[in-house]
């Protein structure tokens, strides 16, 4: 499901033990894109990363469908003991997390680098 039309453009394994997965999304994530988005978010969990970082720096817009995909990722990851972090949210995307008060539930980092290396 890494079709060029879905919002996930890249999946990379990084970190000392290659155990952090960075998922890079782009574009506008609404109802039209949220199924593809969710599927691409879930796939890397099968390889049991210790941490998932979702790079949203190229996501210009997100509605509650996109947020719901991330919440589903978080719920599943928490059950597996996997840490989920979001990075690079623009002001507009950040505000939907604030409105829904999910900004306190996700770890939100300014950059992918910080999300990868912070404790």
């Amino acid at each position: 499901m890494l079709g060029k039309d879905g919002p996930v453009k890249k999946v990379q394994w990084v970190g000392a033990d290659n155990n952090v997965v960075v998922i890079t999304a782009a574009g506008e994530i609404d109802l039209h894109q949220s199924n593809a988005f969710q599927q691409s978010l879930m796939e890397p969990l099968e390889q049991n990363p210790s941490r998932v970082v979702v790079d949203l720096s190229e996501v210009s817009y997100m509605d509650s469908s996109g947020v719901a995909s991330l919440v589903k990722l978080l719920s599943r990851a928490m059950k597996q003991g996997i840490d989920v972090r979001l990075a690079g949210l623009n002001e507009r995307v950040r505000s939907i997390f604030e409105i829904t008060r999910l900004d306190t539930v996700f770890g939100i980092y300014p950059t992918v680098e910080e999300a990868v290396v912070s404790e």
Binding site: D63, S65, R101, V105
Partner: protein, 148 residues
Amino acid sequence: MNESTSKLTCAPVRMSVFSTPSHVAVVRVAVERYCALLGFSKRSAGEVALSVDEALTNVIKHAYHGKEDMPIEVVMESTIVDQRDALRIEIRDWGTAIEPDKIKSRDLNEIRPGGLGVHIMKQCMDSVDYIPLPQRGTKLVMIKYCNP
């Protein structure tokens, strides 16, 4: 909004679309541009566009259960509400009517994927009214004041 802006920009814009998920974006950009004409800040225009997106998403999911070829009408217009300049957006569907007790605000402390749409609309707009229609479907009326 001064007299001359109001004369030039107040006219309503009506969009008739089908319940196709990809078309939500077409309505969204038109609404956002209409807001800019009325003098809304970028942030406020974005909030209105997001609210319209959430409303259309709900129509597609709940009124039409994912069927993609059902009609939706959106009317945006500038109007006066309580003696203040306001944007009024009406969204109408002909699907399963809304059950008013389902749209009560949810407990946000509960972490679950659904139930965010109506909460977002209520946060972003100054008023959100769902009117189940006698024949079929729902009419949603949202208001946002121009100068907060």
